[in-house]
C-alpha cells in the first residue's frame, strides 16, 4: 500500500516527474498522429489501386497484347470463385484538342464500361454517367458521337483545397487520339495510308480515381475503338483481363486458382495462331500488378516505423535519465523504507509501478491530444492555409482530399503498450540500482 501512496505523492510533488509524463505524452502524440496520417494515406492509396484494377490481373506488359481473351473470360466466368471479369487494352497515344496543333502524351485504356464497372470501381469514378455506365462513352450533348472519358486532371484543374469546379453538363470538346497500331509480331502496322492511326472522340465524362498518375494521364475509350486504334491483326487482342473474386475468396487463394486456370487455358491453346503471345502473360494480384505505386509507400511506412523505433529508444533514455535523477534524490527514502522492512523486490516494484503510472498517464495524455488534434487536423490545415497560405499537402500536386484522421484501435493499443514498455525498460536499471542500495550507505550522515 505504501507504494501506491508514494507513487501518487512522487507524481504530485516532484516536478521532474511532470516532465517525464510530458515526454511520454509528446512521443505518443507524435507517433499516433504521424502513424495515423501515414497509414491512412497508405491505406487510401492501396484501396484506390485495388479499386482501379480489381482483385487480380491476367495480363502482359507488352503493348501487343494477347489473343483468345474472350475464351479466357468465358473460362474464368465459369469458375465459382470469380464474380466478374473485364478485358482491357492499354497503350500510349497523343492527345490533341480538335483544331489545335498542340498535343500531349497520354495513356489510353480501352474498356467495356459495364464489365469494367462490375470488376472495378470504374463507374464510381465517373461523374455524369455514374448511374448509367453502359452509356459512359455516349456524350450527353450528342449521342451519335464516339465518346471518351478523361482522367479528371486532364479535364479540370484542382483548386488549392483539392476540389474541382465541375460543370453540370460535359462541355462539347472534340479530341484526337493518335496511336501506333502494332501487329501480332509487335511491328508497327500500316493503318490506311499511314503508320499511325488517328481517331476523334468527344469528351463524354471524366474519371476521378484518386490516383494522381491515372487521373492526370488516362483517357478511357471503348474497348473496340482501342483495339482498332492500337492493334492490328486477324485476332482481336487485349493487354489484360481484370478479375474480381467472389466475397469470401482470399486474394492469395483466388490468384492461385486463376493461375491454375490460366496455365490450363494456355496449354489448350498450344499450337494455335499467335499462341506465342500467351507466353508473355502473367497472373498477378492487384498488389503485385500495382507494386510500383504501392511498394514505395509501404517501404516509407516501414521506414517510418523504424524511425519511431528510434523515438522509442529516445523515450527509454529520457525515462532512464529522469528516474536516475529521481532515485538519486530518493536514496534516503530507500534507506528509510528498507529500515522499516521493505524488501528489494518491493523497492523495485515501487519504482516500476511509478514508471507504469508515468507511462499510462503520458500515453493517456498523448493519445487524448492526438485524437483531438486528428479530429481537427483538416480544420487546422485549412486555417493554416487561410491564415498563412501554407498547406501540408499542396492539393494542386497531391491527389488527396482530406488528411486521413481515422485512428486504428490496434495502432493506439500498440503505441500505448510501447510507451508503457519504454518506461518500464527505462526504469529497470535505476530501479534495480535502488533496490540494491545498502541502507547503511544512504542513511549515514544525510540530513533531512
Amino acid at each position: 500500500m505504501y507504494k501506491l501512496t508514494l507513487i501518487i505523492r512522487y507524481l504530485l510533488k516532484r516536478r521532474i516527474t511532470h516532465f517525464a509524463v510530458l515526454t511520454v505524452a509528446l512521443c505518443v502524440f507524435i507517433v499516433v498522429v504521424v502513424m495515423t496520417v501515414m497509414s491512412g494515406l497508405v491505406g487510401d492509396i492501396k484501396q484506390k489501386n485495388h479499386a482501379f484494377v480489381g482483385d487480380c490481373v491476367v495480363g502482359t506488359k507488352s503493348l501487343v497484347g494477347f489473343p483468345y481473351y474472350e475464351e479466357l473470360m468465358a473460362t474464368l466466368e465459369q469458375a465459382d470463385f470469380v464474380e466478374a471479369v473485364a478485358p482491357v487494352v492499354k497503350n500510349y497515344a497523343l492527345l490533341s484538342p480538335v483544331g489545335s496543333d498542340r498535343s500531349r502524351g497520354v495513356e489510353i485504356m480501352g474498356v467495356d464500361p459495364v464489365r469494367q464497372s462490375r470488376t472495378t470501381d470504374f463507374a464510381q469514378a465517373l461523374d455524369y454517367r455514374r448511374d448509367d455506365v453502359a452509356r459512359a462513352f455516349v456524350p450527353l450533348y450528342d449521342p451519335n458521337t464516339a465518346g471518351c472519358i478523361l482522367g479528371v486532371d486532364l479535364a479540370y484543374s484542382r483548386d488549392a483545397l483539392g476540389g474541382y469546379s465541375f460543370s453540370a453538363q460535359p462541355a462539347r470538346v472534340g479530341l484526337t487520339l493518335t496511336c501506333f497500331p502494332l501487329n501480332a509480331r509487335g511491328a508497327p502496322a500500316r493503318a490506311g495510308s499511314s503508320e499511325v492511326a488517328t481517331r476523334r472522340f468527344y469528351y463524354s465524362d471524366h474519371s476521378q480515381t484518386g490516383l494522381a498518375r491515372v487521373d492526370d494521364s488516362m483517357v478511357y475509350i471503348p474497348l473496340d475503338q482501342a483495339q482498332a486504334l492500337c492493334m492490328a491483326g486477324a485476332l482481336k487482342r487485349v493487354t489484360a483481363v481484370h478479375v474480381k473474386f467472389r466475397s469470401g475468396t482470399s486474394l492469395g487463394q483466388g490468384c492461385d486458382q486463376t493461375r491454375t486456370l490460366w496455365e490450363q487455358f494456355k496449354q489448350s491453346k498450344q499450337g494455335a495462331a499467335d499462341s506465342n503471345l500467351l507466353d508473355t502473360v502473367t497472373v498477378e494480384s492487384w498488389k503485385e500488378y500495382r507494386r510500383t505505386f504501392v511498394a514505395p509507400l509501404e517501404k516509407e511506412e516501414a521506414m517510418l516505423s523504424v524511425m519511431f523505433g528510434f523515438v522509442g529508444v529516445t523515450t527509454v533514455f529520457i525515462v532512464f535519465v529522469v528516474f536516475y535523477m529521481i532515485i538519486s534524490h530518493k536514496t534516503k527514502d530507500i534507506g528509510v523504507l528498507k529500515s522499516v522492512g521493505a524488501s528489494e523486490a518491493s523497492i523495485m516494484s515501487l519504482f516500476s509501478g511509478f514508471a507504469i503510472v508515468i507511462g499510462v498517464l503520458g500515453a493517456a495524455l498523448g493519445v487524448s491530444g492526438a485524437l483531438l488534434f486528428l479530429a481537427k487536423i483538416n480544420r487546422v490545415e485549412n486555417w493554416l492555409y487561410e491564415r498563412f497560405n501554407w498547406q501540408l499537402w499542396d492539393r494542386t500536386i497531391y491527389s488527396i482530399g482530406d488528411i486521413p484522421h481515422h485512428v486504428e484501435f490496434s495502432v493506439l493499443a500498440v503505441v500505448v503498450c510501447c510507451a508503457i514498455g519504454a518506461c518500464l525498460i527505462g526504469v529497470l536499471v535505476p530501479a534495480y540500482g535502488a533496490a540494491r542500495l545498502r541502507p547503511v550507505e544512504t542513511l549515514h550522515g544525510t540530513q533531512t
Partner: protein, 232 residues
Amino acid sequence: MSKRPVILKAESVHKSYRMGATRVNVLKGADLTVHEGEFVAVIGASGSGKSTFLHILGGLDRPDQGVVSFQDRDLNRMRAWELNRYRNETVGFVFQFYHLLDELNVLENVYLPAMVSRGIPGWLGVRRAAKARARGLLEQLSLCDRARHKPYQLSGGERQRVAIGRALMNEPRLLLADEPTGNLDSATGNGILNVFEQLNGMGQTIVMVTHDERVAQRAGRVITLTDGKVKR
C-alpha cells in the same frame, strides 16, 4: 547481572569497509548482550564504528564475521524476507537526522511501517486500527496538532519525536537509536531522552549509540566502543 532474559546478543562481530585502495577495519570483535527491558547506551568516539554496530544489530547490515542473534535466532542465517520482517516488526530505528519521508505528512510517516508490511487488501483491513495507533503515539509524543503537517514544517525536536513514533508503530521488541540527540540542541535533546526514559519505564528495550557521555548517562547501562571492540 540482570535476571531478565537476553533479547539480543552480538559475539565477536567484525566489519570492514573498503575506502579507496585501503580496507578499514571498523569492528574488530565487538560483543554485546542486551537483556529485555534494558536501556543500553553504546558510547564511542566519532568513527569508532558505533553506527555500523547498531546497523548490524538492526539487520540493516551484515557482519563479516561473528554472530548477532535476537532471542537466539542468528540474524546471519535469516533469509532476506525474514530479515525484512525482523526490521519491520521486531526492531524500530531512530536516526540522528530523523529521515522522515518528505512526501508524507506526520501521521503517514508514523504509520509507514504498518503500510510497508501489507498489500492493499491487508492494509484496508487494518487501516483504521493503524491510524488510531499512530494518532495515539502522536498524542503520547505531544504531536497531535501536527498530524497533518509535513516534516519540513516541524522543528528538529518534533521531527525526532515523529521518527520515534514511526519506530514504535509496530510495537517493536527493540528500539535502536543512532545519535538521536546529535542534531538537536540540549533542551530538545533532553526532551527526547525523557521520551526514551518513559518508554524504557514501560518496558521498552532500547539500544542507543552516542558520542556524548552526558547523553549516555541517561541510559541504564553504558558500554564503550574503542578500537572496534567493546571495552568493559
